[in-house]
Amino acid sequence: MKKHSFQADLVEIAAQEVKAGRLHRRDFLTLLAAAGAAPALGAVLGSNPASAQASEIVLANFGGDAINGMSEAWGKPFTADTGIPVRVDGGSPLAGKIKAMVESKSVIWDVCDGDGFLCNQLGKQGLLDEVDYTIVDKSKVREGWAWQHGIANYTYSFVLAYKKELFPDKPPTYADFFDTKKYPGKRSMWKYQMGAMEACLLGDGVARDKLYPADLDRAIAKAKSLGDDVIYWESGAESQQMFLDGEVVMGNIWNTRASILERDTQGKVTWTWEDGLYCPSSFVMPKGHPAPNEAVQKFLASILDPERQIKLLSILGNGPTNPAASAMLPPELRRIDPGYGDNVKAQAIRSEEWYEMNYDAAVEKWIDGIAG
Protein backbone atom coordinates (compact mmCIF):
# COMPACT_ATOMS: atom_id res chain seq x y z
CA MET A 1 0.00 0.00 0.00
CA LYS A 2 1.43 3.25 -1.05
CA LYS A 3 -0.23 5.54 1.44
CA HIS A 4 1.82 5.95 4.51
CA SER A 5 1.43 9.62 4.82
CA PHE A 6 -0.86 12.53 5.08
CA GLN A 7 0.31 13.84 1.76
CA ALA A 8 -0.81 10.68 0.03
CA ASP A 9 -4.24 11.17 1.44
CA LEU A 10 -4.84 14.48 -0.23
CA VAL A 11 -4.87 13.02 -3.66
CA GLU A 12 -7.52 10.60 -2.69
CA ILE A 13 -9.78 13.25 -1.28
CA ALA A 14 -9.57 15.25 -4.51
CA ALA A 15 -10.53 12.33 -6.67
CA GLN A 16 -13.58 11.71 -4.51
CA GLU A 17 -14.56 15.34 -4.61
CA VAL A 18 -14.63 15.13 -8.35
CA LYS A 19 -16.74 12.01 -8.21
CA ALA A 20 -19.15 13.66 -5.85
CA GLY A 21 -19.41 16.63 -8.15
CA ARG A 22 -17.98 19.11 -5.68
CA LEU A 23 -14.97 19.79 -7.82
CA HIS A 24 -15.48 20.44 -11.48
CA ARG A 25 -14.63 17.34 -13.38
CA ARG A 26 -13.78 19.35 -16.45
CA ASP A 27 -11.26 21.44 -14.56
CA PHE A 28 -9.84 18.38 -12.95
CA LEU A 29 -9.50 16.56 -16.25
CA THR A 30 -8.04 19.58 -17.95
CA LEU A 31 -5.47 19.82 -15.23
CA LEU A 32 -4.66 16.15 -15.35
CA ALA A 33 -4.28 16.34 -19.10
CA ALA A 34 -2.11 19.38 -18.71
CA ALA A 35 -0.04 17.60 -16.12
CA GLY A 36 0.54 14.72 -18.47
CA ALA A 37 1.35 16.92 -21.42
CA ALA A 38 3.20 19.81 -19.87
CA PRO A 39 5.76 20.35 -22.66
CA ALA A 40 3.01 20.60 -25.25
CA LEU A 41 1.13 22.94 -23.00
CA GLY A 42 4.23 25.05 -22.61
CA ALA A 43 4.36 25.49 -26.36
CA VAL A 44 0.73 26.51 -26.41
CA LEU A 45 1.34 29.03 -23.66
CA GLY A 46 4.14 30.56 -25.65
CA SER A 47 7.20 29.39 -23.78
CA ASN A 48 9.67 27.41 -25.79
CA PRO A 49 10.16 23.96 -24.35
CA ALA A 50 13.27 23.39 -26.43
CA SER A 51 15.14 26.30 -24.90
CA ALA A 52 17.75 25.78 -22.22
CA GLN A 53 15.64 27.78 -19.82
CA ALA A 54 13.57 25.59 -17.50
CA SER A 55 11.17 23.81 -19.79
CA GLU A 56 9.19 22.70 -16.77
CA ILE A 57 9.30 22.12 -13.06
CA VAL A 58 8.21 18.70 -11.90
CA LEU A 59 6.49 18.78 -8.55
CA ALA A 60 6.10 15.39 -6.90
CA ASN A 61 3.33 14.85 -4.40
CA PHE A 62 1.20 11.97 -3.22
CA GLY A 63 -1.34 12.12 -6.03
CA GLY A 64 -5.14 12.24 -5.86
CA ASP A 65 -6.74 15.56 -5.03
CA ALA A 66 -3.43 17.19 -4.40
CA ILE A 67 -2.45 16.93 -8.07
CA ASN A 68 -5.31 19.20 -8.95
CA GLY A 69 -5.02 21.34 -5.85
CA MET A 70 -1.33 22.13 -6.16
CA SER A 71 -1.58 22.70 -9.92
CA GLU A 72 -4.41 25.11 -9.36
CA ALA A 73 -3.12 26.96 -6.33
CA TRP A 74 0.62 26.95 -7.03
CA GLY A 75 1.37 25.73 -10.55
CA LYS A 76 -0.95 27.90 -12.63
CA PRO A 77 -0.07 31.28 -11.08
CA PHE A 78 3.64 30.46 -11.24
CA THR A 79 3.32 29.58 -14.93
CA ALA A 80 1.40 32.83 -15.49
CA ASP A 81 4.24 34.78 -13.83
CA THR A 82 7.22 33.07 -15.42
CA GLY A 83 6.06 31.05 -18.41
CA ILE A 84 7.54 27.92 -16.84
CA PRO A 85 5.02 25.09 -16.72
CA VAL A 86 4.67 23.17 -13.48
CA ARG A 87 3.89 19.51 -13.87
CA VAL A 88 2.52 17.74 -10.84
CA ASP A 89 3.49 14.10 -10.59
CA GLY A 90 1.53 12.09 -8.02
CA GLY A 91 4.34 9.58 -7.66
CA SER A 92 4.47 9.49 -3.83
CA PRO A 93 7.96 10.86 -3.07
CA LEU A 94 8.57 8.86 0.09
CA ALA A 95 12.00 9.27 1.63
CA GLY A 96 13.06 5.88 0.31
CA LYS A 97 12.23 6.84 -3.25
CA ILE A 98 14.10 10.13 -3.04
CA LYS A 99 17.15 8.32 -1.69
CA ALA A 100 16.94 5.73 -4.47
CA MET A 101 16.72 8.42 -7.16
CA VAL A 102 19.52 10.57 -5.85
CA GLU A 103 21.87 7.65 -5.28
CA SER A 104 21.24 6.19 -8.72
CA LYS A 105 21.61 9.69 -10.22
CA SER A 106 18.30 9.44 -12.05
CA VAL A 107 16.31 12.21 -10.41
CA ILE A 108 13.11 13.11 -12.22
CA TRP A 109 11.56 15.36 -9.57
CA ASP A 110 12.50 18.98 -8.91
CA VAL A 111 10.39 19.56 -5.83
CA CYS A 112 9.02 16.89 -3.49
CA ASP A 113 6.28 17.07 -0.89
CA GLY A 114 7.03 15.55 2.50
CA ASP A 115 6.96 16.09 6.24
CA GLY A 116 8.89 19.02 7.66
CA PHE A 117 11.43 17.02 9.61
CA LEU A 118 12.55 15.30 6.42
CA CYS A 119 14.30 18.53 5.36
CA ASN A 120 16.98 18.12 7.99
CA GLN A 121 16.88 14.35 8.07
CA LEU A 122 17.49 13.85 4.35
CA GLY A 123 19.48 17.06 4.08
CA LYS A 124 22.07 15.79 6.52
CA GLN A 125 22.44 12.66 4.43
CA GLY A 126 23.38 14.82 1.48
CA LEU A 127 20.29 13.93 -0.52
CA LEU A 128 18.84 17.43 -0.89
CA ASP A 129 19.67 20.83 -2.35
CA GLU A 130 19.67 23.86 -0.08
CA VAL A 131 17.04 26.58 -0.18
CA ASP A 132 18.43 29.88 -1.43
CA TYR A 133 17.15 32.42 1.08
CA THR A 134 18.20 35.33 -1.08
CA ILE A 135 15.37 34.27 -3.39
CA VAL A 136 12.98 32.68 -0.89
CA ASP A 137 11.70 35.03 1.80
CA LYS A 138 12.24 33.38 5.16
CA SER A 139 9.91 35.76 6.94
CA LYS A 140 6.95 34.39 5.00
CA VAL A 141 6.75 31.21 7.04
CA ARG A 142 6.21 30.64 10.73
CA GLU A 143 9.39 30.87 12.72
CA GLY A 144 11.48 27.72 12.61
CA TRP A 145 9.87 26.38 9.46
CA ALA A 146 12.48 27.64 6.99
CA TRP A 147 15.09 24.92 7.02
CA GLN A 148 18.42 24.75 5.28
CA HIS A 149 17.19 21.99 2.96
CA GLY A 150 13.52 22.76 2.56
CA ILE A 151 10.65 25.03 3.47
CA ALA A 152 7.20 24.54 4.99
CA ASN A 153 4.58 24.53 2.24
CA TYR A 154 1.33 23.80 4.08
CA THR A 155 0.11 22.55 7.44
CA TYR A 156 -2.17 19.84 8.70
CA SER A 157 -3.24 18.43 12.03
CA PHE A 158 -4.06 15.20 13.77
CA VAL A 159 -7.34 15.97 15.51
CA LEU A 160 -9.80 14.18 17.76
CA ALA A 161 -12.93 13.38 15.74
CA TYR A 162 -15.96 12.00 17.54
CA LYS A 163 -19.62 11.15 17.39
CA LYS A 164 -21.47 14.26 18.41
CA GLU A 165 -24.31 12.39 20.15
CA LEU A 166 -21.89 11.04 22.75
CA PHE A 167 -20.71 14.51 23.66
CA PRO A 168 -23.63 16.88 23.15
CA ASP A 169 -22.30 19.61 25.42
CA LYS A 170 -18.55 19.67 25.15
CA PRO A 171 -16.01 17.90 23.00
CA PRO A 172 -14.11 14.93 24.44
CA THR A 173 -10.57 15.14 25.71
CA TYR A 174 -7.92 12.47 25.27
CA ALA A 175 -8.70 11.39 28.82
CA ASP A 176 -12.21 10.55 27.54
CA PHE A 177 -10.67 8.90 24.50
CA PHE A 178 -8.96 6.34 26.72
CA ASP A 179 -11.91 5.96 29.11
CA THR A 180 -13.70 3.05 27.47
CA LYS A 181 -15.84 2.38 30.54
CA LYS A 182 -17.47 5.76 30.48
CA TYR A 183 -17.63 5.99 26.71
CA PRO A 184 -17.86 2.48 25.27
CA GLY A 185 -16.99 1.85 21.65
CA LYS A 186 -13.94 1.49 19.52
CA ARG A 187 -11.37 4.19 18.85
CA SER A 188 -8.93 4.56 16.04
CA MET A 189 -5.45 5.98 15.69
CA TRP A 190 -2.87 6.06 12.93
CA LYS A 191 -0.91 2.86 12.67
CA TYR A 192 2.37 4.65 12.04
CA GLN A 193 2.98 6.28 15.39
CA MET A 194 2.75 9.98 14.55
CA GLY A 195 -0.23 11.70 16.12
CA ALA A 196 -1.18 8.50 17.89
CA MET A 197 1.82 8.72 20.19
CA GLU A 198 0.99 12.29 21.14
CA ALA A 199 -2.65 11.36 21.75
CA CYS A 200 -1.54 8.59 24.10
CA LEU A 201 0.74 10.90 26.04
CA LEU A 202 -1.92 13.59 26.33
CA GLY A 203 -4.39 10.94 27.47
CA ASP A 204 -1.88 9.83 30.07
CA GLY A 205 -1.67 13.31 31.54
CA VAL A 206 1.36 14.79 29.79
CA ALA A 207 0.97 18.52 29.21
CA ARG A 208 0.80 19.83 25.64
CA ASP A 209 4.11 21.64 25.88
CA LYS A 210 5.85 18.71 27.57
CA LEU A 211 5.26 16.12 24.83
CA TYR A 212 8.86 16.20 23.61
CA PRO A 213 11.25 14.57 24.18
CA ALA A 214 8.60 11.90 23.99
CA ASP A 215 8.37 8.94 26.32
CA LEU A 216 7.59 6.31 23.71
CA ASP A 217 7.30 3.45 26.21
CA ARG A 218 4.70 5.35 28.16
CA ALA A 219 2.76 6.07 24.96
CA ILE A 220 2.85 2.43 23.88
CA ALA A 221 1.66 1.28 27.30
CA LYS A 222 -1.24 3.72 27.03
CA ALA A 223 -2.09 2.52 23.53
CA LYS A 224 -2.08 -1.08 24.72
CA SER A 225 -4.41 -0.15 27.58
CA LEU A 226 -7.16 0.16 24.96
CA GLY A 227 -6.91 -3.59 24.36
CA ASP A 228 -9.32 -4.64 21.64
CA ASP A 229 -11.04 -1.28 21.66
CA VAL A 230 -8.59 0.23 19.22
CA ILE A 231 -8.48 -0.14 15.45
CA TYR A 232 -5.45 1.33 13.76
CA TRP A 233 -6.16 3.05 10.48
CA GLU A 234 -3.76 2.82 7.62
CA SER A 235 -5.11 5.26 5.05
CA GLY A 236 -7.12 8.45 5.48
CA ALA A 237 -10.01 6.90 3.59
CA GLU A 238 -10.07 4.08 6.10
CA SER A 239 -10.22 6.47 9.03
CA GLN A 240 -13.21 8.14 7.43
CA GLN A 241 -14.94 4.89 6.53
CA MET A 242 -14.72 3.59 10.08
CA PHE A 243 -16.84 6.51 11.25
CA LEU A 244 -19.30 6.19 8.38
CA ASP A 245 -19.74 2.47 9.08
CA GLY A 246 -20.20 3.12 12.78
CA GLU A 247 -17.20 0.99 13.66
CA VAL A 248 -15.66 3.63 15.87
CA VAL A 249 -16.96 6.39 18.12
CA MET A 250 -13.76 8.44 18.36
CA GLY A 251 -10.61 8.71 16.34
CA ASN A 252 -7.32 10.54 16.10
CA ILE A 253 -7.40 11.42 12.40
CA TRP A 254 -6.27 14.06 9.90
CA ASN A 255 -8.13 17.37 9.96
CA THR A 256 -8.87 17.14 6.24
CA ARG A 257 -10.75 13.89 6.76
CA ALA A 258 -12.47 15.24 9.86
CA SER A 259 -13.94 18.20 8.03
CA ILE A 260 -15.20 15.97 5.23
CA LEU A 261 -16.77 13.67 7.80
CA GLU A 262 -18.55 16.58 9.41
CA ARG A 263 -19.92 17.65 6.04
CA ASP A 264 -20.91 14.14 4.95
CA THR A 265 -22.65 13.25 8.21
CA GLN A 266 -24.35 16.63 8.59
CA GLY A 267 -22.50 17.20 11.81
CA LYS A 268 -23.16 13.81 13.41
CA VAL A 269 -19.43 13.33 13.40
CA THR A 270 -17.35 16.37 14.22
CA TRP A 271 -13.94 17.22 15.62
CA THR A 272 -12.20 19.42 18.11
CA TRP A 273 -8.98 21.37 17.64
CA GLU A 274 -8.33 21.02 21.36
CA ASP A 275 -5.15 18.98 21.87
CA GLY A 276 -4.71 18.45 18.16
CA LEU A 277 -1.21 18.03 16.76
CA TYR A 278 -0.25 20.81 14.38
CA CYS A 279 2.30 19.71 11.75
CA PRO A 280 4.16 21.40 8.92
CA SER A 281 4.59 19.70 5.58
CA SER A 282 7.45 20.86 3.37
CA PHE A 283 8.94 21.04 -0.08
CA VAL A 284 12.43 19.66 -0.63
CA MET A 285 14.63 19.54 -3.73
CA PRO A 286 16.38 16.23 -4.41
CA LYS A 287 20.04 16.69 -5.24
CA GLY A 288 20.59 16.58 -9.00
CA HIS A 289 17.03 17.57 -9.91
CA PRO A 290 16.61 18.32 -13.63
CA ALA A 291 15.26 21.90 -13.68
CA PRO A 292 17.67 24.84 -13.24
CA ASN A 293 18.17 25.75 -9.60
CA GLU A 294 17.06 29.36 -9.89
CA ALA A 295 13.69 28.48 -11.42
CA VAL A 296 13.00 25.98 -8.66
CA GLN A 297 14.00 28.48 -5.96
CA LYS A 298 11.63 31.01 -7.51
CA PHE A 299 8.89 28.44 -7.44
CA LEU A 300 9.49 27.84 -3.72
CA ALA A 301 9.31 31.57 -3.15
CA SER A 302 6.04 31.79 -5.07
CA ILE A 303 4.13 29.21 -3.03
CA LEU A 304 4.46 31.33 0.10
CA ASP A 305 2.20 33.97 -1.39
CA PRO A 306 -0.77 34.29 1.02
CA GLU A 307 -3.45 34.19 -1.67
CA ARG A 308 -1.99 31.06 -3.20
CA GLN A 309 -1.85 29.40 0.18
CA ILE A 310 -5.44 30.33 0.88
CA LYS A 311 -6.41 28.89 -2.47
CA LEU A 312 -4.82 25.59 -1.48
CA LEU A 313 -6.72 25.63 1.81
CA SER A 314 -9.99 26.19 -0.01
CA ILE A 315 -9.34 23.27 -2.37
CA LEU A 316 -7.62 20.73 -0.16
CA GLY A 317 -8.13 21.84 3.43
CA ASN A 318 -4.41 22.24 4.15
CA GLY A 319 -3.52 25.26 6.19
CA PRO A 320 -1.17 28.03 5.10
CA THR A 321 2.35 28.19 6.47
CA ASN A 322 2.48 31.93 6.00
CA PRO A 323 0.97 33.56 9.12
CA ALA A 324 -0.16 36.48 6.95
CA ALA A 325 -2.39 34.09 5.02
CA SER A 326 -4.13 32.85 8.14
CA ALA A 327 -4.84 36.42 9.14
CA MET A 328 -6.50 37.11 5.77
CA LEU A 329 -8.85 34.12 5.81
CA PRO A 330 -12.48 34.57 4.87
CA PRO A 331 -14.80 33.47 7.72
CA GLU A 332 -15.89 30.19 6.13
CA LEU A 333 -12.29 28.97 5.94
CA ARG A 334 -11.31 29.88 9.48
CA ARG A 335 -12.99 26.85 10.95
CA ILE A 336 -10.97 24.41 8.80
CA ASP A 337 -7.54 26.05 8.96
CA PRO A 338 -5.43 24.25 11.56
CA GLY A 339 -3.24 27.33 11.92
CA TYR A 340 -5.97 29.91 12.42
CA GLY A 341 -6.02 31.92 15.68
CA ASP A 342 -7.75 29.88 18.38
CA ASN A 343 -7.42 26.66 16.39
CA VAL A 344 -3.66 26.68 16.63
CA LYS A 345 -3.64 27.96 20.21
CA ALA A 346 -5.62 24.90 21.25
CA GLN A 347 -3.10 22.50 19.75
CA ALA A 348 0.31 21.05 20.41
CA ILE A 349 2.94 21.72 17.77
CA ARG A 350 4.88 18.77 16.43
CA SER A 351 8.54 18.97 17.26
CA GLU A 352 10.39 18.69 13.96
CA GLU A 353 13.64 18.37 15.88
CA TRP A 354 12.43 15.35 17.82
CA TYR A 355 11.07 13.66 14.70
CA GLU A 356 14.22 14.41 12.78
CA MET A 357 16.28 12.54 15.36
CA ASN A 358 13.80 9.85 16.36
CA TYR A 359 11.33 9.16 13.58
CA ASP A 360 12.92 5.95 12.30
CA ALA A 361 13.39 4.32 15.65
CA ALA A 362 10.02 5.56 16.88
CA VAL A 363 8.05 4.07 13.99
CA GLU A 364 9.73 0.71 14.40
CA LYS A 365 9.33 0.64 18.14
CA TRP A 366 5.71 1.73 17.93
CA ILE A 367 4.78 -0.86 15.30
CA ASP A 368 6.37 -3.51 17.43
CA GLY A 369 4.75 -2.17 20.59
CA ILE A 370 1.19 -2.16 19.30
CA ALA A 371 1.43 -5.47 17.45
CA GLY A 372 0.03 -8.49 19.22
Binding site: M1, H4, L94, A95, G96, K97, K99, K186, K191, Y192, D228, I231, Y232, W233, E234, D245, G246, E247, Y359, D360, A361, V363, E364, K365, I367, D368, I370, A371, G372
Partner: protein
Protein backbone atom coordinates in the same frame (compact mmCIF):
# COMPACT_ATOMS: atom_id res chain seq x y z
CA UNK B 1 23.25 -29.75 -30.76
CA UNK B 2 20.54 -32.33 -30.55
CA UNK B 3 18.02 -29.95 -29.06
CA UNK B 4 17.28 -27.44 -31.79
CA UNK B 5 14.72 -25.66 -29.62
CA UNK B 6 17.14 -24.65 -26.92
CA UNK B 7 17.70 -21.34 -28.73
CA UNK B 8 14.08 -20.46 -28.05
CA UNK B 9 14.88 -20.33 -24.38
CA UNK B 10 17.49 -17.61 -24.75
CA UNK B 11 15.18 -14.56 -24.54
CA UNK B 12 13.55 -15.95 -21.42
CA UNK B 13 16.94 -16.78 -19.94
CA UNK B 14 18.14 -13.23 -20.51
CA UNK B 15 14.99 -11.87 -18.92
CA UNK B 16 15.41 -14.05 -15.85
CA UNK B 17 19.05 -13.04 -15.49
CA UNK B 18 18.48 -9.35 -16.06
CA UNK B 19 15.29 -8.88 -14.16
CA UNK B 20 15.67 -11.44 -11.43
CA UNK B 21 19.13 -12.81 -10.76
CA UNK B 22 20.98 -9.51 -11.04
CA UNK B 23 18.63 -7.61 -8.69
CA UNK B 24 18.66 -10.51 -6.22
CA UNK B 25 22.46 -10.41 -6.34
CA UNK B 26 22.41 -6.69 -5.67
CA UNK B 27 20.05 -7.27 -2.78
CA UNK B 28 22.42 -9.80 -1.26
CA UNK B 29 25.34 -7.39 -1.67
CA UNK B 30 23.30 -4.59 -0.10
CA UNK B 31 22.51 -6.77 2.91
CA UNK B 32 26.26 -6.99 3.57
CA UNK B 33 26.68 -3.22 3.18
CA UNK B 34 28.34 -3.50 -0.23
CA UNK B 35 31.85 -4.42 -1.29
CA UNK B 36 33.69 -1.42 0.13
CA UNK B 37 33.26 -2.28 3.78
CA UNK B 38 31.35 -5.51 4.01
CA UNK B 39 29.77 -6.15 7.37
CA UNK B 40 27.32 -8.44 9.03
CA UNK B 41 25.76 -5.72 11.13
CA UNK B 42 22.25 -6.05 9.66
CA UNK B 43 22.25 -9.77 10.31
CA UNK B 44 23.53 -9.11 13.80
CA UNK B 45 20.68 -6.68 14.27
CA UNK B 46 18.16 -9.32 13.24
CA UNK B 47 19.63 -11.68 15.81
CA UNK B 48 19.77 -9.06 18.55
CA UNK B 49 16.49 -7.19 18.09
CA UNK B 50 13.57 -8.72 19.92
CA UNK B 51 10.98 -6.86 17.86
CA UNK B 52 12.27 -8.19 14.55
CA UNK B 53 12.29 -11.69 15.93
CA UNK B 54 8.73 -11.27 17.11
CA UNK B 55 7.70 -10.18 13.63
CA UNK B 56 9.50 -13.14 12.09
CA UNK B 57 7.82 -15.46 14.57
CA UNK B 58 4.37 -13.93 13.90
CA UNK B 59 4.95 -14.33 10.18
CA UNK B 60 6.00 -17.96 10.37
CA UNK B 61 3.26 -18.83 12.82
CA UNK B 62 0.49 -17.28 10.73
CA UNK B 63 1.82 -18.74 7.50
CA UNK B 64 2.15 -22.23 8.99
CA UNK B 65 -1.41 -22.22 10.33
CA UNK B 66 -2.67 -20.79 7.04
CA UNK B 67 -0.83 -23.45 5.05
CA UNK B 68 -2.19 -26.32 7.13
CA UNK B 69 -5.77 -25.13 6.82
CA UNK B 70 -5.49 -24.23 3.15
CA UNK B 71 -4.00 -27.60 2.21
CA UNK B 72 -6.59 -29.50 4.22
CA UNK B 73 -9.44 -27.58 2.63
CA UNK B 74 -7.76 -27.75 -0.75
CA UNK B 75 -7.43 -31.51 -0.48
CA UNK B 76 -11.12 -31.90 0.30
CA UNK B 77 -12.17 -29.63 -2.54
CA UNK B 78 -9.81 -31.31 -5.00
CA UNK B 79 -11.07 -34.75 -3.91
CA UNK B 80 -14.66 -33.73 -4.48
CA UNK B 81 -13.79 -32.18 -7.81
CA UNK B 82 -11.91 -35.23 -9.02
CA UNK B 83 -14.71 -37.61 -8.18
CA UNK B 84 -17.87 -35.80 -9.15
CA UNK B 85 -19.65 -35.66 -12.48
CA UNK B 86 -18.37 -33.34 -15.20
CA UNK B 87 -21.19 -30.81 -14.79
CA UNK B 88 -20.77 -30.44 -11.06
CA UNK B 89 -17.01 -30.37 -11.52
CA UNK B 90 -17.29 -27.40 -13.84
CA UNK B 91 -19.50 -25.62 -11.33
CA UNK B 92 -17.10 -26.28 -8.48
CA UNK B 93 -14.17 -25.25 -10.63
CA UNK B 94 -15.88 -21.93 -11.23
CA UNK B 95 -16.47 -21.53 -7.49
CA UNK B 96 -12.73 -21.89 -6.96
CA UNK B 97 -11.70 -19.82 -9.95
CA UNK B 98 -13.94 -16.79 -9.58
CA UNK B 99 -12.56 -15.68 -6.21
CA UNK B 100 -9.11 -16.63 -7.50
CA UNK B 101 -9.49 -13.93 -10.14
CA UNK B 102 -10.62 -11.25 -7.70
CA UNK B 103 -8.03 -8.81 -6.50
CA UNK B 104 -6.50 -9.39 -3.11
CA UNK B 105 -7.69 -5.97 -1.98
CA UNK B 106 -11.30 -6.63 -2.88
CA UNK B 107 -11.23 -9.94 -1.07
CA UNK B 108 -9.74 -8.45 2.08
CA UNK B 109 -12.29 -5.65 2.15
CA UNK B 110 -15.12 -8.12 1.55
CA UNK B 111 -14.02 -10.14 4.55
CA UNK B 112 -13.84 -6.98 6.59
CA UNK B 113 -17.44 -6.17 5.74
CA UNK B 114 -18.53 -9.68 6.66
CA UNK B 115 -16.56 -10.14 9.84
CA UNK B 116 -16.33 -6.81 11.59
CA UNK B 117 -18.28 -6.05 14.74
CA UNK B 118 -21.19 -4.50 12.88
CA UNK B 119 -20.68 -6.82 9.91
CA UNK B 120 -23.14 -9.30 8.47
CA UNK B 121 -22.04 -12.28 10.54
CA UNK B 122 -21.95 -10.55 13.91
CA UNK B 123 -25.18 -8.66 13.27
CA UNK B 124 -26.85 -11.86 12.16
CA UNK B 125 -25.72 -13.77 15.23
CA UNK B 126 -26.72 -10.90 17.50
CA UNK B 127 -30.16 -10.75 15.89
CA UNK B 128 -30.74 -14.46 16.48
CA UNK B 129 -29.68 -14.02 20.09
CA UNK B 130 -26.95 -16.66 19.82
CA UNK B 131 -24.37 -14.22 21.12
CA UNK B 132 -24.65 -11.27 23.46
CA UNK B 133 -21.70 -9.28 22.20
CA UNK B 134 -19.99 -9.22 18.82
CA UNK B 135 -17.32 -11.88 18.36
CA UNK B 136 -13.80 -10.62 17.63
CA UNK B 137 -13.61 -12.13 14.15
CA UNK B 138 -11.44 -9.59 12.44
CA UNK B 139 -8.84 -6.87 13.07
CA UNK B 140 -6.80 -9.59 14.72
CA UNK B 141 -4.78 -12.66 13.81
CA UNK B 142 -7.90 -14.74 13.35
CA UNK B 143 -9.15 -12.39 10.66
CA UNK B 144 -5.77 -12.40 8.94
CA UNK B 145 -5.75 -16.20 8.83
CA UNK B 146 -9.28 -16.33 7.38
CA UNK B 147 -8.35 -13.86 4.68
CA UNK B 148 -5.12 -15.60 3.82
CA UNK B 149 -6.66 -19.08 3.74
CA UNK B 150 -9.36 -17.81 1.43
CA UNK B 151 -6.79 -16.32 -0.88
CA UNK B 152 -4.51 -19.34 -0.88
CA UNK B 153 -6.93 -22.29 -1.10
CA UNK B 154 -7.02 -22.25 -4.93
CA UNK B 155 -3.24 -22.55 -4.96
CA UNK B 156 -3.63 -25.74 -2.95
CA UNK B 157 -6.55 -27.08 -4.97
CA UNK B 158 -5.00 -26.99 -8.42
CA UNK B 159 -1.85 -29.09 -7.96
CA UNK B 160 -3.66 -31.64 -5.81
CA UNK B 161 -6.54 -31.84 -8.27
CA UNK B 162 -4.15 -32.36 -11.17
CA UNK B 163 -2.55 -35.33 -9.44
CA UNK B 164 -5.86 -36.84 -8.42
CA UNK B 165 -7.23 -36.56 -11.90
CA UNK B 166 -4.22 -38.21 -13.46
CA UNK B 167 -4.30 -41.04 -11.00
CA UNK B 168 -4.80 -44.51 -12.38
CA UNK B 169 -8.19 -45.60 -11.08
CA UNK B 170 -7.19 -49.25 -11.43
CA UNK B 171 -4.92 -48.83 -8.41
CA UNK B 172 -7.91 -48.43 -6.15
CA UNK B 173 -9.81 -51.18 -7.87
CA UNK B 174 -6.87 -53.46 -7.32
CA UNK B 175 -6.81 -52.57 -3.64
CA UNK B 176 -10.52 -53.15 -3.30
CA UNK B 177 -10.28 -56.46 -5.16
CA UNK B 178 -7.84 -57.84 -2.63
CA UNK B 179 -10.26 -56.96 0.15
CA UNK B 180 -9.18 -53.53 1.41
CA UNK B 181 -11.95 -51.38 2.91
CA UNK B 182 -12.56 -47.96 1.34
CA UNK B 183 -10.76 -46.31 4.26
CA UNK B 184 -7.83 -48.72 4.00
CA UNK B 185 -7.65 -48.08 0.26
CA UNK B 186 -7.60 -44.38 0.87
CA UNK B 187 -4.90 -44.52 3.54
CA UNK B 188 -2.65 -47.11 1.91
CA UNK B 189 -3.07 -46.28 -1.77
CA UNK B 190 -4.79 -42.98 -2.46
CA UNK B 191 -3.05 -40.84 0.12
CA UNK B 192 0.53 -41.94 -0.63
CA UNK B 193 0.01 -41.35 -4.34
CA UNK B 194 -1.34 -37.86 -3.77
CA UNK B 195 1.06 -36.95 -0.99
CA UNK B 196 3.78 -35.38 -3.18
CA UNK B 197 1.15 -33.06 -4.60
CA UNK B 198 0.10 -32.18 -1.08
CA UNK B 199 3.66 -31.27 -0.20
CA UNK B 200 4.01 -29.32 -3.40
CA UNK B 201 0.77 -27.45 -2.72
CA UNK B 202 1.84 -26.81 0.86
CA UNK B 203 5.14 -25.42 -0.27
CA UNK B 204 3.48 -23.17 -2.83
CA UNK B 205 0.99 -21.85 -0.29
CA UNK B 206 3.66 -21.37 2.35
CA UNK B 207 5.99 -19.43 0.09
CA UNK B 208 3.16 -17.24 -1.18
CA UNK B 209 1.99 -16.66 2.35
CA UNK B 210 5.40 -15.46 3.50
CA UNK B 211 5.15 -12.48 1.19
CA UNK B 212 1.63 -11.44 2.16
CA UNK B 213 1.17 -7.75 2.64
CA UNK B 214 -2.27 -6.36 1.89
CA UNK B 215 -4.35 -8.98 3.68
CA UNK B 216 -2.64 -8.68 7.08
CA UNK B 217 -2.52 -4.91 6.76
CA UNK B 218 -6.28 -4.70 6.26
CA UNK B 219 -7.61 -7.57 8.33
CA UNK B 220 -5.08 -7.27 11.14
CA UNK B 221 -6.39 -3.92 12.33
CA UNK B 222 -2.84 -2.61 12.56
CA UNK B 223 -1.88 -5.03 15.27
CA UNK B 224 -0.72 -7.93 13.13
CA UNK B 225 2.53 -6.91 11.47
CA UNK B 226 4.09 -9.39 9.09
CA UNK B 227 7.52 -9.40 7.58
CA UNK B 228 6.75 -7.87 4.19
CA UNK B 229 5.16 -4.86 5.82
CA UNK B 230 8.20 -4.38 8.01
CA UNK B 231 10.46 -4.60 4.97
CA UNK B 232 8.33 -2.02 3.21
CA UNK B 233 8.56 0.36 6.17
CA UNK B 234 12.32 -0.15 6.30
CA UNK B 235 12.72 0.67 2.62
CA UNK B 236 10.32 3.56 2.21
CA UNK B 237 10.14 5.24 5.58
CA UNK B 238 13.01 4.49 7.88
CA UNK B 239 15.56 4.09 5.06
CA UNK B 240 17.20 1.02 6.56
CA UNK B 241 17.80 -0.63 3.24
CA UNK B 242 20.51 -2.89 4.58
CA UNK B 243 18.12 -4.27 7.15
CA UNK B 244 15.36 -4.71 4.58
CA UNK B 245 17.81 -6.51 2.29
CA UNK B 246 19.05 -8.75 5.10
CA UNK B 247 15.48 -9.68 6.04
CA UNK B 248 14.72 -10.45 2.40
CA UNK B 249 17.77 -12.66 2.24
CA UNK B 250 16.66 -14.46 5.39
CA UNK B 251 13.30 -15.04 3.76
CA UNK B 252 14.91 -16.28 0.56
CA UNK B 253 17.21 -18.66 2.41
CA UNK B 254 14.33 -19.96 4.51
CA UNK B 255 12.32 -20.61 1.35
CA UNK B 256 15.19 -22.41 -0.35
CA UNK B 257 15.82 -24.48 2.77
CA UNK B 258 12.18 -25.45 2.85
CA UNK B 259 12.28 -26.40 -0.81
CA UNK B 260 15.33 -28.52 -0.14
CA UNK B 261 13.78 -30.30 2.83
CA UNK B 262 10.54 -31.05 1.04
CA UNK B 263 12.38 -32.25 -2.04
CA UNK B 264 14.41 -34.61 0.17
CA UNK B 265 11.17 -36.02 1.54
CA UNK B 266 9.29 -36.51 -1.70
CA UNK B 267 11.90 -36.00 -4.42
CA UNK B 268 12.23 -33.02 -6.69
CA UNK B 269 10.71 -34.65 -9.73
CA UNK B 270 7.61 -35.73 -7.89
CA UNK B 271 7.39 -32.39 -6.12
CA UNK B 272 7.34 -30.56 -9.42
CA UNK B 273 4.45 -32.67 -10.60
CA UNK B 274 6.34 -35.32 -12.53
CA UNK B 275 4.88 -38.07 -10.41
Amino acid sequence: MRQPYIGFLLPAAFLVCGLFLVPVGQLIILSFDGFAEPSLRWYAQILETGSIQRILWTTFRIVTITTLIAVLLGYAVAFAMAHMGPRQRLLLLLCVLVPFWLSVLVRALAWLILLRNNGLINEGLLATGLIGAPLPLVRNEFGVIIGMVHYLVPYAVFPIFATMQNMDGRLMMAARSVGASPLRTFIDVYLPVTLPAVFGAGLLVFVFGLGFFVTPAILGGGRVVMLSEYVSISVLQTLRWGLAAALSVVLLVATLALLWIVSKVVGVRRLLGNA
